[in-house]
Each structure stands twice: as C-alpha cells, then as structure tokens.
Amino acid sequence: MKTLTKLLASAALATGLAGGAIAQDDPFQVGFVYVGPIGDYGWTWTHDQGRLAVEEAFGDDVETIFAESVPEGPDAERVIQQMVLGGADMIFTTSFGYGEATNAVAGQFPDVQFEHATGYLREHDNVSTYSARFYEGRAVIGHIAGHMTESNIVGYIASYPIPEVIRGINAAYLHAAEVNPDVEFRVVWVYTWFDPAQEAEAAQALIDAGADVIMQHTDSTAPQATAQEAGNVITFGQASDMIQFAPAPRVSSIIDNWGPYYVRRVGEAMEGTWAQSDTWEGMPEGMVVIGEMTEAIPEEVRASATAIMEGIQAGEYHPFTGPINRQDGTAWLADGEVADDGTLAGMDFYVEGITGEIPN
C-alpha cells in the first residue's frame, strides 16, 4: 500500500508538474503527508478533514495533494521532496516522526513553506510547527473515567513514549484520581500509531487485566469494537468522534479540529504574510473539541465534566495546576502553580500515583 500510494502520488505529482509548466497563474498547491490511511477514522482522517476545509475555503485558488501511509523515516523525505519537485508551494507533514525529514527538505527549498504537526524542530525559517493541546481533552475524559470505573482500573493504550503521549496519560490520571483516589492506570505501549489488530489485542489484554475503562492514544477504532464485544467497558473516541460506537462503549471523545488552522496558514502563505511560528492551541481556540457526552454517563458527571471543559475553554482552568508531585515523590508544581509550556512540551515523567514505568 505504502509504495503504491507513493507511486500514485508521484504520478499525480508528475502531471501536476506538467500542468504547472503550461499555466502561468497556476493554483497554490498544498501538499499533505499522512502517516496512516485517510480511512483510519482517527488521526489521519481528521487531518484530511482539514485538507478538505482548505479546498472549500479557497476553491479553485488552491489545489491539494496528499500521500497516505507514508512511513516515518527516510521514505518520508523522498515523498516530501517529490511533492516539492511536483510543484507544491506549501507542505503539511502530519506526524511527529516526520520532523527530521521535513527540516531536511525545507533546507533545500527555502521558497516552500513547511508545517510540521506535533513537532519541535524548526531548523530553517520556512518551517513552522503546530500541535494541539490534547491533554486538555484528556483532563475532561479522565474526570469521566474516574467517576465511571467500578473496578478502579483504567486501561490506557499508548503508542510511543514521547512527551505528547506521556502528557496525555498524566492529565487523564490526575483528573481521574481527583474524583477517585483508588483509581489505577495500566498503560500498554504498542509502538505503533495505527495497527487495528494490535490495538484490539492491547484492549483485550487490558480488559482481561480488569480494566473497565479503555483510553487510547492510537488511531484506529479497533479498541472500541473490542470494548463493545466485552460489554460493560467504556471508551472514548480518539482524534475523531468515533460516534458510530455511541452511546456505549464510546461515551465521549476528544476531537482534533485542524481545519481553521490549515485555512488560516494557507491563507497567510498565499498572501505572503506567512511567518515561522510554533503554534500550540487547545480547547479555548477550538483546535481540541470534546465530542458529545452520551446518556451512558450519569447526569451529574456530565455536568461536572462540562464544567471542567468550560473552565478550560474560558482559559480559567489549567489541567496541570499544582500541587502536583512527580512519580518519585519530588515536588513539581507548588499549590496553585501552573505548568509552563516548556516542561509540558518535554514531559518525560509520570506524576505521583501512576504505578508503571515509562519505557526508555
């Protein structure tokens, strides 16, 4: 698939190149590099919704192209390079592992604008990074999980031990433990963003270990299906709404909403006002949205979760507000202190109360 998509993409790019040579005022071409298939109904699907939003906003003035299931690593660099050679004026690379490849290509083509999702590397002036504060959403669903678990074991399917994932685990745990001091988090690392069978296996392993709430930081709907079959297990949609599993097991979701950012940045690039930036937006800006909370959640829990959500949206509440200790018991945040973005961006420790270890 990977190779085939690339072949198709390069064929599309080749025609794009030929077209560009003929027409002088060709449309602004925007390329998207995806880590999974559009049909994952999760992470990549939401980025593609963003691409469609760009098409809708600018109509014939833009042309978008994309390559799906591009592996993180050297292959990514080739795909990005091909896109640029095919005439792309701006490129969004939508996975953490594309960081080095994006910067390498950006160095070769200073006139093309690059946007790297969830990354931190900006080695050239034409590279921006952007991410969403998913942990804000994790705080809300962690709160729901803490209330709803009866076995007091929450299962967490984690992808890779990187700050973004660890941040999510911490945010969810803090808000679950806040309402339920007995809650335990069991984290399973699957070392993939997208592998339905592996994700289903991980969900089953966690359910067999006694978990009655499953959270996931992977992209497919497979854990939802496993939970549905097990019964009496609740889940949360990840990246996209996964509403097809509502009202249960999916009781709510964290939705990534990239459209507004993509439209804004493409607009700036077309006008020539685009400048390097490091964007990190969350629920106040609407980049992270909480999906509908279903009837399966008790009414008072829905109300308190909504209160947390509104607090974050209004900018009045920060999910990492002290006192919070690190896992080893040392103090991290004093009473009332709020975590700074630098620490959050590089988070490599669990907070106090989580029993597992972060693999290295």
Partner: protein, 307 residues
C-alpha cells in the same frame, strides 16, 4: 497469578487464527512448487470483501464466502501470470500484494466504520462459561475451529491421500509429474486458488470477527508473518499450528505483562517472535540434508511443458 493463563490462551488462539489460515493456504501452494508472495494482498482483499458483504447482507456466512472468493479471484491473476504467461513468481507475488492493498483500499472507500453484524458463537453461553475448559475450548468462533481442523485435514490429505501425493510430486519435480501425465499447470492453479481462499478467509476473520470493521491497511503485515511461518514450520502443517500459536502467544503475553505492570523490556518482547524465527532458521539450515528434504524441490521454478 500475574497473568491469567486462561484468558492468555483464549487470546492467543484468537490472535493467531488469521495468520494460521493464511499460512496453511500458502503451505499448500508452496507444496505444489509455487511461491506466492502475495499473501498480504490476498488477505486484505478477503478483509475488504468480507466486511462489504457483511455490511450489505448482514450475513457472516456470506461474508466469509465473499472474502474467500475475493481473495481467490485475486490469486487467479497470479495464477494466470505465473502459470500461463510464465512470469517470475517472486515479482508477480510482490506485485499481487501491492495491487491487492491498493484495490482493497479502493473497494473499501465508504465502508470504513460501517456497522458489521455480530457473529454468533457456535456453542451456547452455558457451555462457554464452564470453568477453564469453557473459555479455552468452547468460546471460539466457528472460523477458529475451522482453522484448527484445516491443520489436520491438510496434514492428512498431503500425507495419506493420492491427491496429496500428486500435489507433492508436482512440487518436487514438475517434469517428472508431467511425464507421468499429471496436469502440472491445472494442479498448480487449483493450489493457488486454494491458497487465495484460505488467505481471504483469514482476512475476513480479521475484519468481520476480530476488528469488526473495515479499516484500510488493517492486515498490517500479517501476510508476511504467514509467509515466514511456512518456512519456520519447514512446510509441515502441525508445525504451522505450533508456530502460529507461539507467535500469537508471545504477542498476547507481552501485552498482558505490560497490563500487569511487570517490569520487562517491551522492545525485547516485541522483537522475540523475530528472534525465534531467526534461531529456528539458523538451526534448520545448519543441517543441509534435512532442510533440503523439507523444502519442495521445484519451489519457485517456472514450468514449461516443452522443457
């Protein structure tokens, strides 16, 4: 007990079913002297056809048949290429995988996340709840039992029947089999179609029973593991079953150890099935005579009646 052995065994049997089916199919294909590297492509065709038909007709039986038919149809392309047009089997097989993955993605557009009917289990709830024996022996899906039965059926047919003898003869020396009057091409095409149907059933099990959804790229390399399994098992059906359960067992165990918060290095556990494969391959190839006995002599060779 840190890890509950009963749920572990149940999980490993379920996890290994798709790979087991595909590997058994490939074993028969290779026994006939054909190397079909398109298992991954055929599995995903089975997965997409199975889930489309399951969604449209709400019938799991039809879905499994559709998965088998879809993958067999794909394998027929390979059969035409390699048996009539004499093209290289390795290249054609790889092309089949790429084509299958692309075609499945195309066919599956619009079916992602569409509901699929629940597949009922063959044994009643009461039996499944018997302590220990119930979950391990009686809680599985029909296809899982079929896969285990196929291990014995294929072993018996290959070992003790005339059909099996002819198939093996074709795989060992197609010229000799041809001289004896056997239709080498026809036998190989039938073997390829059987391999396709088995891979398709494995794929359909994955989408209809296990993940209960069509997701693009969902086989995620299972077809390649099936191919490795055939070599690992030295072309013996019993060992394919053992290998499939071993691989499934390691996968299930490592997730459970993590869930139980046992401090084992995840990376090592993740790599362990591949380490085991390498060790087995080294041990096998250290004994030249035995390795040569097991591999079909005409494997991967193109047959031409005039030659």
């Amino acid at each position: 007990m840190i890890v509950d052995p009963v749920t572990l065994i149940v999980a490993l049997i379920t996890i290994s079913t798709p790979v087991l089916l595909a590997a058994l199919g490939e074993l028969v294909v290779e026994k006939s002297g054909v190397l079909n590297l398109g298992v991954e492509g055929m599995m995903i065709m089975g997965a997409v056809c199975g889930s489309i038909v399951a969604h449209q007709t709400q019938s799991p039986t039809l879905a499994f048949l559709a998965g088998m038919a879809g993958a067999a149809a794909l394998s027929f392309i390979f059969a035409i290429l390699t048996q009539f047009l004499m093209s290289n089997q390795v290249a054609s097989g790889l092309a089949l995988t790429l084509f299958g993955l692309g075609l499945a993605a195309l066919l599956g557009v619009g079916y992602e996340g569409q509901p699929i009917p629940e597949v009922s289990k063959p044994f009643p709830e009461a039996l499944r709840e018997i302590d220990t024996v119930g979950p391990i022996l009686l809680s599985h899906d029909f296809v899982t039992y079929l896969a285990v039965f196929a291990v014995f059926a294929i072993w018996y047919v290959l070992r003790h029947t005339r059909v099996g003898l002819i198939l093996r003869a074709v795989g060992e020396s197609h010229d000799a089999a041809h001289a004896l009057g056997y239709k080498v091409v026809r036998i190989r095409i039938l073997a390829i179609l059987f391999g396709g149907a088995m891979a398709g059933l494995g794929g359909a099990f994955l989408s209809v029973v296990y993940v209960e959804n069509w997701v693009q790229g969902m086989t995620a390399g299972a077809g390649w593991i099936a191919l490795a399994l055939v070599v690992f098992a030295a072309w013996k059906p019993g060992r394919v079953l053992f290998g499939a359960w071993l691989f499934g067992g390691i996968a299930a165990l490592q997730l459970r150890l993590q869930a139980a918060e046992v401090g084992v290095p995840v990376a090592l556990l993740d790599a362990s099935p591949y380490l085991v494969t390498i060790i087995v391959l080294v041990v096998m190839s250290s004994d030249r005579a035995r390795a040569a006995l097991n591999a079909p002599a005409a494997l991967g060779k193109t047959f031409h009646a005039s030659g």
